[in-house]
Each structure stands twice: as C-alpha cells, then as structure tokens.
C-alpha cells in the first residue's frame, strides 16, 4: 500500500469535513415521517355529525394477528347516540405493546373508523400503562399517554417530535 | 280477545249464512271459508276490525294473525274505517299516462287528504290502487263500486261537489269523439299550465 493510497483515503475523510452533517437533531429538529407510516391508532368521528365511526363490530379484533384489540359493544341510546346506527363500542382497548402496527385493523374496519397515525413516541415505564382506551385514541387527542401525562403535569401542551405529510382525516374534527 | 267482549260477534245472528258459506267447502277445507267471510264483513262494515279477524279465525280454525295475513294481502279489504265515499285512483301505466298522477295530486289538494287517509267528517277517503282494468278510458276514479272514467278537472270538481251533497251522480258514459282529447288533456302535465283548466 503506497502513500498515495493513504492520501486518497484521508482525502475522502477530509472531504467530509466540509460536507453538511447528516445528523437529524431529533428531538429539537423533527423527524420526517412518510405519509404511509403506521404509528399510534386514531379512532375517527364523522366530520359532519361528530358521531364516532366505530360501531363496535370487533372485526378489527378478529383481524388482529397479535390479539391486541378488545371490543365490547352496546346499544346506542337513541336520544344521544355515541355512533351512527344501533350499535357502538362501549369498550375499545388496544394493547400497544402487543400491537405490531401491521394495519390489518385499518383494512378490516367496515366504517374506516380506525386509522394508524404517525405517533411513534410511545415509550413508557409501566406495562399496564400501554393499554390504550377510547379516550386515548379518539381523533383530536394529541400525543401518547405519557406525553399527555407529562404535559398535564408541566402545564405545557404536547410537542410531537415528528412532521408528516398531510393526513386530513387525522386533523381532528371541530364540532 | 278484548274486542270480542266489547263488540257483539258479527256472525252471531247469521247462522244460516254461516252454514251456507261453510257448506261450500269440505270439512278439512274449512280454512277456505276465510275469504267469503271476510267479504261479508267488509261489505257490511266497510272494514275488518281486529275483533272480526279474531272471530273469523275462531270460525274457520285459524289464528287471528293468519286471517290478518290473508286480509292484508288483498287491497279491497280495509283494516281501518274508510270514508262514506272511498275514492280509488288507478295509478298504473295507461291511466298514469292519461294523467292519473295529476288527478291524484289534484284530489289531494282538493280534499286535503293523502293516500289511505279519511277526511275530517269521514266523508271522503283516498287511495292509490293498481290497475282497475279500464285502461282504454283513463284516468279512472272508482268511488266505492262505481267507475268514473275519463275524469277531467271539471268532471272531478262536479263529482266531488255532488258527493259532498251526498248525491251519487250517474257515471257518464265514456264518449269517444272530439272532447275526448280535451278531457284527457285536462290532466296531462305537459299540456296544462296552472289555471288553464278553468278556461275550458
């Protein structure tokens, strides 16, 4: 191996000194997520009426390969219905640790009620805190359980460490 | 059968009629008598109440619901009371082409009742029915059992006006000839603008 080769190699190294660093300064700088990335689930509502789209048919539970979803349905109160139609999900729980984010539930859902969003900052301390219930997933809730917990304690609002392509259905519904 | 206690049985005093009707059918075919019995009641009371259904069921050995099923199958039986003059407007194709829909709308606005309703003083009731078999001379109104064919606005007004005086007019014979077109055109949507009927 000649000196020339070493110089060549060092040249490459030196050359990199003058390139911009590729490091993404996460969390200060937000990570970019592709639009089709599958993160934490959202339960959607009908934009016009604000009723939940979920009808508690538990087809998602049937489709889930990890058995991470548990649904218990009940009959709607005709006066103030929770969802459109006769039936709604009284209990809707997903064990985020079981979930493998395969998106089968999304495909199985007949009403398009459940959609996998972009949130991946789900790390938490206790196993039992990973069972996400309806209030943790209904559209409009921002951040993971821990993030909302922390934000509540600190009195700040949740800052999500990512940016993604537009997902209009996940923007929440004002009604 | 609460009604049975309140309402006296219809066939209580018509034993011979009952025997005659039941006599038409063999014993094992007793059920067949349900139709003539229903017709008797319908003719006498102009509708078949639930009490009557139960009574007929008792007679022919069917349960009331089954009799109701038979009755509701045929449009000439009525579950609720109808008016003194039951106007049935044919709504099948040829009458509809001849303007029976407009006729019906006209009657609705004139009498203030819609399909299956009875007006306040129980005089008129209105019903849209399928073909009355008078296709050549539509539009047709059947008042109780009499046909009134080629009904035009003027004729309709006359008819209603007469009926409200409790005079049942003679059904005019459906003339051919020149004014046929006029009568028919009367209710034809695309030829008649609003109020044009009065000019004739």
């Amino acid at each position: 191996m000649s000196v020339l080769d070493i110089a060549k190699g060092m040249g490459v190294t030196l050359g990199h000194l003058f390139k911009r660093p590729v490091t993404v300064q996460y969390p200060e700088q937000r990570a970019t997520v592709q639009p089709r990335f599958r993160g934490r689930h959202h339960l959607l509502r009908h934009p016009d009426t604000g009723l939940e789209k979920c009808i508690g048919c538990s087809l998602c539970a049937a489709a889930c390969p990890a058995y991470a979803i548990y649904v218990e349905a009940d009959e709607n109160d005709p006066e103030n219905p929770t969802s459109a139609g006769e039936r709604y999900a009284k209990i809707y729980e997903i064990n985020m640790l079981r979930c493998i984010f395969c998106g089968f539930c999304e495909e199985a859902c007949p009403t398009g009620a459940i959609v996998l969003g972009h949130e991946f900052e789900l790390a938490d301390f206790r196993y039992q805190d990973f069972v996400y219930a309806k209030p943790d997933m209904l559209v409009g809730t921002k951040g993971s359980k821990w993030q909302r917990r922390e934000a509540e304690k600190k009195g700040k609002d949740v800052r999500l460490g990512f940016e993604a392509g537009p997902r209009p259905e996940l923007e929440g519904v004002d009604y | 059968m609460v009604e049975l206690e309140t309402v006296p049985p219809f066939f209580a005093d018509k034993q011979e009629l009952l025997d005659e009707i039941l006599g038409r059918y063999p014993e094992y075919g007793r059920r067949s008598a349900v139709m003539p019995l229903l017709r008797e009641v319908q003719h006498a009371e102009r509708y078949v109440s639930e009490a009557r259904l139960a009574e007929i069921g008792e007679i022919v050995g069917m349960h009331a619901t089954e009799v109701k099923g038979v009755m509701s199958f045929y449009s000439e039986y009525h579950g609720e009371p109808v008016g003194t003059y039951h106007l049935q407007v044919c709504s099948t194709l040829s009458c509809s082409l001849a303007g029976s829909d407009e006729l019906y709308d006209y009657l609705v606005e004139k009498l203030g009742i819609v399909n299956g309703e009875v007006d306040a003083e129980g005089r008129f009731s209105l019903q849209k029915v399928e073909c009355l078999g008078s296709c050549g001379s539509g539009p047709v109104i059947q008042v109780n059992d009499t046909y009134y064919e080629r009904v035009s606005r003027s004729r309709c007004d006359a008819l209603i006006e007469a009926l409200s005086r409790d005079e049942v007019p003679e059904p005019w014979r459906a003339r051919g000839g020149d004014n046929e077109g006029a009568d028919k055109a009367d209710f034809l949507m695309h030829t008649v603008a609003a109020g044009e009927g009065e000019t004739r």
Binding site: A31, A66, L122, Y127 | -
Partner: protein
C-alpha cells in the same frame, strides 16, 4: 452581591440571581443520565433499528450513549431488541447479572415487551419476567427515533422525573425496587 446576601436571601431568590443549589444525588443522576452506555442485546429485527439509532443520521451519542459495549462489565443499560426465546432467557439473565449497578433495561419492540404476535410456547411473553425492565418501547420494530425517545425517557427516569399513570413516582432504577 456580597457574601451577606447568601445568608439573608432565601434559596429561591438566589436561584433567581443565578446561584445554583444542587444536591450531590442530583448531580450524580445528571452524570449517569448523560453517559448511558448500552450493552448490545440484539435478538432480532429490532436490532437493525437499534444499530440505525447509532449511525450518523440519528446519532445516539448526542445523548452520551454511543458506545455499545460488547462486555456487560462496562455497560449501564441493556437494550433487549427482539423476541426472547425461552432458551435465551437464562443467558440474558446472566448478562444482566454481569452488568455493574446501577443498571437499566430497555425492552425494545413488541416481541420483547409482550411476545407480540408470537404468542407461543417458545417465546418469553414479557422480558420483564426475566429482568426488571425500565422502559418499554412499542413498535414492530420501533424506528430509531423511537429508541432515541426511549433513551430520553430513561434519562428522565434516571433523573427521577418519571411517574406512572397513577402519578406514582418511579424508582431511579427498576432493579433496586425488586
């Protein structure tokens, strides 16, 4: 300001003037939290993402945990990345035992944390049943940022800022509470 102020003013006021009061414990915790050296325990696909988390793009050394130690003797935190088979469990336990206190465990990915979709006889259904887990990271696999986020979580825990859903303060090291 003069020396007298130190005795006259109360702590809050001094802190406002920029004089820091810190207990040694806090200082130590701050030091530990910023030098969390992982012991590699890559078991499956999650390990690939774990490697990614140290590469140039999202480089975990920004948080002082760049050096993955092949020897548990020099490691502070064990990142269990991937599904743990029952045969592997005792080995992992030994590696954990060999790590010097204080030591932490990150359970990375669905399989490590709950068995994921491998709900069968061969897979440990939660690493927590073998070693005390400090942080669970959902995902299949979690993207590198998720692991970085987990390390940040761990730092919070080491600094004693962690609490669970019921608001209970969590111990600095999970292993100590067992």
């Amino acid at each position: 300001m003069g020396l007298r102020d130190l005795f006259e003013k109360d702590v809050q006021e001094l802190e406002n003037e920029g004089i820091l009061f810190s207990s040694l414990e806090k200082l130590v915790a701050w030091g530990r939290s910023n030098s969390l050296w992982p012991a590699t325990f890559g078991l499956a696909c999650c390990a690939i993402e774990m490697m990614q988390s140290t590469n140039a793009r999202n480089d975990m050394s920004r948080f002082g945990s760049e050096v993955f130690r092949a020897s548990p003797r020099q490691a502070d935190v064990m990142i269990v990345a991937g599904r743990l088979s029952k045969k592997m469990a005792p080995i992992m336990r030994r590696v954990y035992e060999q790590m010097p206190d204080p030591k932490w465990v990150i359970s990375m990915g669905a399989c490590a944390s709950s068995g994921g979709m491998f709900n069968n006889y061969a897979i440990v259904q939660n690493v927590d049943s073998v070693v005390p887990v400090d942080i669970f990271v959902p995902g299949c696999p979690p993207r590198p940022e998720a692991l970085v986020y987990a390390v940040m979580q761990l730092q919070k825990k080491v600094r004693g800022e962690a609490f669970d859903q019921q608001g209970v303060e969590l111990p600095m090291v999970e292993g100590w509470s067992r």
